[in-house]
Amino acid sequence: MKGHSRIGRPSGRSRVGSVAFAAAVLVLGFALAGPVIGGEGEGSSKQGKFLFRSKCKECHWPDREGGEVTPITFTQQQWKDFFDKNKHKKKKDVWGEKFTAEELVHIKTYLIEHASDSPQPETCG
Amino acid sequence: MKQGQGRFKRYAMVVEVKKCFNCKGCVVACRAENNVPLPISRNWIEESGIRGRYPFLGQTFEPAACNHCERPPCERVCPTGATYRTSEGIVMVDNRKCIGCKYCIQACPYQARSVNRRDKVIEKCTFCIHRLEEGRIPACVETCMGGARHFGDVNNPDSEVARLLAHKDSYVKKSEAGTRPAFYYVF
């Protein structure tokens, strides 16, 4: 009811692979330094958040060149289309220059997960 | 000074009883504002308790404190003149003159006075006179969440309190005591 923080994974898209639970107990320390790319070409939402904030936000800020864009600017389908078809048409070269293919996968994952129709409910506080 | 004469202010509290929901914000605000030590309070809420038989029930809350009477029994009985009334009708205690006889406590029909043992003074509502000086309203009125409490000069026909009293039925506590309180309740 309060606040608009939506954090977490959308339902039905589990990040839990088929790692045996016994092995899970022995998983040590930090997860991998690099992004985990699953079988569906999914990226890392956490990497994506960092990239979105550090790179995209340079232009997509209120009163800046690209205008404000946040994950909830579009729906999940719209984000999918944006990454698969549109590919930042308004300034195509920026995309090619600024981001590697891998980074785009991460950003896509993050934006879809937190899109305006993401199934993660708002929380309190 | 006469009522309605317009020369002097007459401060009064008017409470819309329906709006008080017993949050007791006023009780704590007063304690904080006036540094009133536990266990005494300058103000309190008179709770009627649950009236009636289930499921036809009723309950009311009446904020109360010193009524700042026009004819205060406390002033009458005070042997040293420590209790006095200001020109705006606020009943005050000059603790320098007080000898601690506690006659005023007995005389008050509203049990509005108590002994503050920590500071060795008589503790009672002062209508937050120190705030009035600064153009502020009493702490209890300011914080009243239900918007039940109203405060002002009844001698000013444009004031909120004067208008409330003009347009609504009101009552005071123990009117038969003849004290003429400045603390009114409206429905």
């Binding site: 339902s11 550090s54 800020w61 129709d117 929380t123 506080g125 | 007791k24 304690r31 200001t86 060795k120």
Partner: protein, 762 residues
């Protein structure tokens, strides 16, 4: 009295000054000083070392000031007014702290704050007593004896933090980062605790929603795509079920409701108990507990059958109405009358009144939804009944919540986490917010040790022993931990069980990040520091940063709070920033707004419409429309135990506040006179309450204000921590008595499903 000239002189001077009001008096500054002279506050001049010496190394560290050698001090000087935000409950009311000579002398409401409008309730006014509570946590403590024995070793911050980091790393080494549970409650510095958890690599964060409003949020979110806010001030008919706004205060809802009582046509209130709110209602319906859903379903039945719904709105903006028509067929008023013990004609009449007053009608849903197994279905029904009368985005109806977007501070990406959550989210409760966790499931799995052991527990601003049902089970959960660290302000029952206690600074001693409240009037608040932290307490940001450094996670906290706040301000105009610095609050103009969303029309749901028929519920195998489950009846001679709260305390957090305790010293068991007579119980005498999981004694409150089939007690009493000198031993903890029960859809606790026996105590 004038026995001692010293004390009387000051008050006499005041008296004298006051007498001169009608005539010109001494200069104002002098009068101001004299007024201030009357103020005395306990000074905190004792050093921590002196405290140690006085206390002898045992739990008396936490002992009150009477033993500590503190003196009384008169403060004088200029008053500094510092904008702050009340921290005694979740409402975040704007407040102004008056500070004289480094002492907070009074808290006033902030008149510019759109929710509290210059008021503070009893708790807000009593915030001083939290700041100056003699039992406050003063220094870091490390457990020196058996868990719960109260043997503590006074530690320096260095020592306590080193030790905490060491233990956390040990657990990480042995069990993985998921072996540490991070549980916290919302506040302006909670974010840093959650960041630490994520940086640490643990998926196991648990917050308060599943003990409170998860069902409400999940139900409304999956219906509307958001949790709407009620425009109570402009509503003509308000229906309310159990949200006791007079005693469970929400701003501005409470203010809107009671300030405008005369100007509204009707306020109808459903509750098994005659609460203060009931006494203000035009109609109080003493509904049978657990049957609210039946009432609403019957209302929907009437509204649909008699074509009282907003046809145009339903067609344009909702999905699944046709399925609803079919679904509510059996839920007739006559059926509901039997379930609820409310006359059918009354249900019909209320449904008609509600629909005819719409769109200026609200079936208000409040926050807490943790009642019984029907909680999610009930909230879905509330969402539906509001939707079909078309009160969306309309004056006096439900409005889309607004907040202000704030700037961020860039930190490195958190590590991806392989381990599944201990509570099985999101798979176990796919409709929930994952990060909030599900407490009952988590506790269950921790006790089982499946799918993996959880042996470390970091607790921030939370009191699980008082929040979770079946206290004995929570105790077991604590007992099986290898390490428990509690960050708090007071020595709570949970802190008493800890291995390490870290004293946090209270809200009056901190500058906090900006915060935006979801509201119909979007605004931002800026809590500024009124006084320096007392004793050795520290703000949570500092604690987290220090811990992070020792855990090798320093890069995630490589900034200071000032920078964090400046970054937040970057999205705001200069005018807004100025307002925040000067007044502590900035509200965006032009709100509440009506009709904008209604015109554009896309809801943040899969269908883009208000989902009367929830596609996501269906997708996850839950009832897509609310289905009523009758609750089991209490066995003969037993009662359903209800719990709730009053206006003087916030959950289990404030019972040690002496100013508040003075208003309400203990909780009592509400019981109907007929039942009391039957059991030989007199008002004010002690009774024993026995449940399947515990027992306790408290005084009885024999009253007509409750139904015969249930008993009630306030939540939050029955503290056992001896360090809470004022609160310890008063009343009974409802959580000792309430058995573990949760809603199937959201895992939200069902606090009202326990049956108890009541006996007069010998």
């Amino acid at each position: 009295m004038n026995e001692e000239n010293g004390t009387c002189k000051e008050s006499k001077a005041v008296g004298k000054e006051k007498k001169q009001i009608a005539e010109p008096g001494p200069p104002k500054s002098e009068r101001g000083r004299l007024v201030m002279d009357r103020r005395r506050f306990l000074s905190l001049s004792v050093s921590a070392a002196a405290l140690v010496a006085a206390s002898g190394g045992s739990w008396r560290f936490l002992a009150g000031t009477a033993h500590g050698g503190l003196d009384s001090k008169t403060v004088q000087g200029a008053t500094r007014v510092v904008p702050t935000v009340c921290g005694l409950c979740t409402n975040k009311c704007g407040a102004l702290a008056r500070v004289v000579d480094g002492v907070v002398v009074k808290l006033d409401g902030n008149p510019r704050h759109p929710k509290s409008r210059g008021k503070l309730c009893a708790r807000g006014q009593a915030g001083l007593q939290l700041l100056y509570d003699p039992n406050r946590l003063k220094v870091p403590l490390i457990r020196a004896g058996a868990r719960g024995s109260g043997q503590w070793k006074r530690a320096s911050w260095q020592e306590a933090l080193d030790y905490t980091a060491e233990r956390l790393l040990q657990i990480k080494e042995r069990y993985g980062p998921q072996g540490v549970l991070f549980s916290s409650t919302e506040e302006f510095q909670e974010r840093f605790f959650l960041d630490l958890a994520e940086a640490f690599g643990s998926p196991n964060t648990i917050r308060h929603p599943t003990q409170c409003l998860v069902a409400n949020n999940v139900a409304f979110f999956h219906t509307y795509g958001t949790v709407p806010l009620p425009d109570l001030a402009n509503s003509c008919l308000i229906l309310m079920a159990g949200a006791n706004r007079a005693e469970a205060i929400i701003t501005p809802d409470t203010l809107d409701l009671f300030e405008n009582l005369h100007y509204r046509s009707k306020f109808i209130y459903l509750d098994p108990r005659y609460t203060v709110t009931a006494s203000k209602a035009d109609i109080w319906i003493p509904i049978k507990p657990g049957t609210d859903l039946a009432f609403v379903l019957a209302m929907i039945h009437v509204i649909v059958k008699e074509n009282l719904y907003d046809r145009a709105f339903v067609e344009q903006c909702t999905h699944g109405f046709d399925k609803l028509v079919e679904h509510i067929e059996p839920y007739t008023p006559e059926w509901a009358a039997r379930e609820c013990e409310v006359p059918a004609v009354q249900i019909v009449e209320i449904a008609r009144m509600f629909a005819s007053a719409a769109p200026r009608a609200i079936f208000y849903y409040g926050r807490r939804s943790s009642f019984d197994r029907n909680q999610t279905a009930f909230r879905r029904a509330l969402a539906i009944v509001n939707a079909i009368v078309g009160n969306w985005d309309s004056p006096g109806g439900l409005l889309p919540p607004q907040s202000v977007s704030l700037g961020f501070t860039l930190i490195p990406p958190f590590p991806d986490i392989e381990a599944p959550r201990i509570d099985g989210l999101p798979e176990s409760y796919p409709l929930n917010n994952t990060q909030d966790g599900v407490y009952s499931r988590a506790r269950e799995n921790v006790l089982k040790g499946e799918p993996y052991p959880v042996k470390g527990w970091m607790v921030y601003k939370q009191n699980p022993l008082h929040g979770m049902p079946d206290r004995a089970k929570t105790q077991k959960m604590i007992d099986q931990m290898e390490f428990l660290c509690v960050i708090d302000v007071l020595p709570s029952d949970t802190a008493w069980q800890a291995d390490v206690i870290l004293p946090e600074a209270t809200y009056l001693e901190r500058e906090d990040p900006l915060h935006t409240e979801s509201s119909i009037r979007p605004h931002v608040v800026y809590r500024q520091q009124a006084v320096e932290p007392l004793y050795e307490s520290r703000p949570n940001f500092w604690i987290m940063k220090e811990l992070a450094g020792r855990l090798g996670l320093g890069s995630y906290f490589d900034y200071d709070l000032k920078t964090y706040i400046e970054n937040q301000m970057m999205t705001l105009s200069e005018e807004a920033r100025q307002a925040l610095r000067e007044y502590g609050v900035w509200t965006r103009e032009g709100y509440p707004k009506y009709g904008e969303h209604r015109a554009k029309g896309r809801f943040r749901t899969p269908t883009g419409k208000i989902e009367i028929y929830s596609t996501r519920f269906e997708q996850q195998g839950k009832d897509p429309l609310p289905v009523y489950q009758p609750l089991p009846k209490p066995p003969l001679g037993q009662f359903r135990l209800l719990m709730g709260r009053n206006a003087y305390f916030t959950h289990a957090a404030l019972q040690n506040n002496r100013w508040l305790l003075h208003l309400y010293p203990e909780n009592r068991l509400w019981i109907h006179p007929e039942e009391a007579r039957r059991l030989g119980i007199r008002d004010g005498t002690t009774v024993e309450v026995v449940s399947p999981v515990g027992r306790g004694t408290l005084k009885a409150y024999v009253t007509e204000a409750i139904r015969r089939d249930c008993v009630y007690m306030d939540h939050g009493f029955g503290h056992t921590s001896p360090a809470l000198e004022a609160a310890c031993g008063r009343g009974v903890s409802d959580q000792t008595l309430i058995a573990d029960a949760a809603d199937e859809v959201t895992g939200g606790v069902s606090y009202h499903e326990t049956f108890v026996e009541v006996r007069a105590a010998a």
